[in-house]
Amino acid sequence: MSKAILDVKDLKKHYSRSRGLVSALRGRDVVIPAIDGISFYIRENETMGLVGESGCGKTTVGRSIMGLTPITSGQVLFDGEDLSVLPPSRFLPYRRQMQMIFQDLDAALNPKMRVRSILREAVTVFDRPGNEGVDRRIRELLDQVNLKESKLTSFPHELSGGEKRRVGIARALAVGARFLVADEPTSALDVSIQAQIVNLLVDLQRDLGLSYLFISHDLRIVELISHKVAVMYLGKIVEMGLAGSIANRPLHPYTRMLWSSMVDGRSLEGSPSPGGRGTWGSLDFERPQAGCRFASRCPVYRDRGRPAVCTDPSTEPELLDVGRARKVACHFPLQ
């Protein structure tokens, strides 16, 4: 079994929303726990899918791992080294091994730089390979992401969505990354282009031995390319396991709700009416539920006659191992 490339332990990221000076002094600022203690690991050459509704904290997880946003507490171990306590000078060697593919195609590329300059900058940021070496490396990258050499003189706005995405991937590979955080890499793309990018990511993983944290709300793509999947709800992982078993035999009611909410939803075993009607509140960090966060939307909670254990603040369900590489945080997991 290959070793873990990334190990996240009890990661927390709290944002505080200021209500003004007086509240701050009285300690009454609103704290929004965007990530509220999550742990997982990713092995080499493995893809972990991270799914959940918008606002559940998926992107914040990616950014925290990358060190793009300071974390509140917890550990992010890359190759066994805790990145969150490293001084900047010792962080750099790790930074080149982990890169991010950003969700927003247009914001990620400098509009005033041509593709060649964008890639040149990435190639030369850690190494000084000389002009010839740079050109060779750029050609190699273009080849890897399947981009025409004629595009090197284009500005980002002259590229199509798929091409911009390819440039973003090439830039991440330029520094020699082994681990990529792919934040919704297909969501901004046309349907026929999405498959191109998914296939490219899978090919790169096979050829270069990359590991991915694949953040997406497209459950089908996640199910197809991930080895394991974590489902997030309001800043916590509620279920985690192998991709196929999560999709086909969800244990957490929220997981089942997500998968059966696909428009062409399959009929999962024992879920006649997925979710039921009127159970859709929105995500709300500011008025957190006591006990289980999902209780207000949970069909199981409702069907069981609102058991007190679900809303008791002292018994918030923990992510427990239920065997077969499966973890679930629920008092009444589905069978």
Binding site: E53, I193, A195, V198, H217, D218, L224, V263, D264, G278
Partner: protein
């Protein structure tokens, strides 16, 4: 079928003139569609395929004034017939030089006035529209209830404010807004995206239109909310029976809600027919583009076989330099030696291959 068509679009062409490119962008290039009473027509296509511009042309809401807009849009309700498409010819003069168009001069205000006169009494009242981004489409400074009530006052016979408010509440209930009484007095900013979309749908339905145009009604919403909106539209279709044009890039949404489907690519319709035929991977024959498109979406089948979706290579067509022949020529995987020349040089017509099923491909119309 004996049911009369509510909307008939014939050979619609909407071109925009691009100054920097000195050429026409042929966003919609000869589209013909029909929507019958009670039917839902789905228009699927990738971005730039012209699906939204088709809808906006019908309802006279094109923002950047087109250089050319021709064709015929007939709209028929209870025996009254409107011809909705104004001719822009009187308001545009083309400056030519050696047979090349070098400048397009448009009388935008005159054209706008003409469109607005033509649309008076139709837009909003007979034809309603739901837009993609509900938050942007609602006025942030007016409560949800007032916005729906305003639509009732403007577009129905009701003139009394209290009655209008009551009607507005009725429609908010119809779209299954949770606690409609509370939402009535709230502002769009207080509502989630899904709730805003429900409010938009309530507004669109409140005038009891003869035709509803829904442009990407589920795009940008969470997948859990999406499925709820689709469920709502499905139920409303059964309960209210409103004739609908549904525009979406999401094939699953269109397949679920539509009776007939038009697949657009590069400004033209490539395949047009009953939804269960066009969007079912098992029904043959298929247009190569539709076949590839269905194959490129991860589905149950891929997951079962552990296969990755097959990508359509190449890029979406740019409608400035549309090719002479078939628009899908560059990306087509089904071209055989026998027809290659024809595919490259000659654009096939949208021809009937079986009753009510049309296709634009040399493979099938030979």
């Amino acid at each position: 079928m004996a049911v009369e068509p509510v909307l008939t679009i014939e050979d619609l062409r909407t071109y925009f003139y691009s100054r920097s490119k000195r050429a026409f962008i042929r966003s919609v290039d000869g589209v013909g569609l029909q929507v019958r009473r009670g039917e839902t027509l789905g228009i699927v296509g990738e971005s730039g395929s012209g699906k939204s511009v088709t809808a906006l042309s019908v309802i006279g809401l094109i923002d950047a004034e087109p250089g050319v807009i021709t064709g015929r849009v007939g709209f028929r309700v209870n025996g009254t017939e409107w011809s909705l498409l104004p001719s822009i010819g009187d308001h545009v003069s083309l400056a030519e030089e050696d047979g090349r168009i070098v400048e397009v001069v448009k009388d935008n205000r005159g054209w706008r006035r003409k469109v607005d006169r033509l649309m008076h009494g139709v837009r909003g009242r007979e034809i309603s529209m739901i837009f993609q981004n509900p938050r942007v489409s609602l006025n942030p400074f007016v409560t949800i209830g007032s916005q729906v009530a305003e639509s009732v006052l403007l577009n129905t016979g009701i003139r009394n404010r209290r009655e209008a408010a009551e009607k507005a509440r009725y429609w908010l209930e119809q779209v299954r807004m949770d606690s409609p009484g509370l939402r009535f007095a709230q502002y769009p900013g207080d509502l989630s995206g899904g709730m805003c979309q429900r409010a938009m749908i309530a507004m669109a339905l409140s005038s009891e239109p003869s035709l509803l145009i829904a442009d990407e009604p589920t795009t940008g919403l969470d997948s859990t909310i999406q499925s709820k909106i689709v469920e709502l539209l499905d139920d409303l279709k059964k309960a209210v029976g409103v004739t609908t044009v549904l525009i979406s890039h999401d094939i699953n949404v269109v397949a679920r809600l539509s009776d007939s489907v038009a697949v657009m690519y590069g400004g033209t319709v490539l395949e047009y027919g009953p939804a269960d035929r066009v969007l079912s991977p098992d029904f043959l024959p298929k247009h190569p583009y539709v076949e590839a498109l269905l194959e490129s979406i991860p589905s149950e089948r891929h997951i079962k076989d552990g296969l990755l979706p097959r990508a359509i290579e190449g890029e979406v067509l740019d409608t400035v330099n549309a090719p002479r022949g078939c628009r899908f020529f560059d990306r087509c995987h089904r071209i055989t030696n026998g027809i290659e020349e024809k595919c490259r040089d000659l654009e096939p017509d949208l021809a009937e291959i079986s009753a009510g099923h049309q296709m634009r491909c040399w493979l099938h119309i030979g």
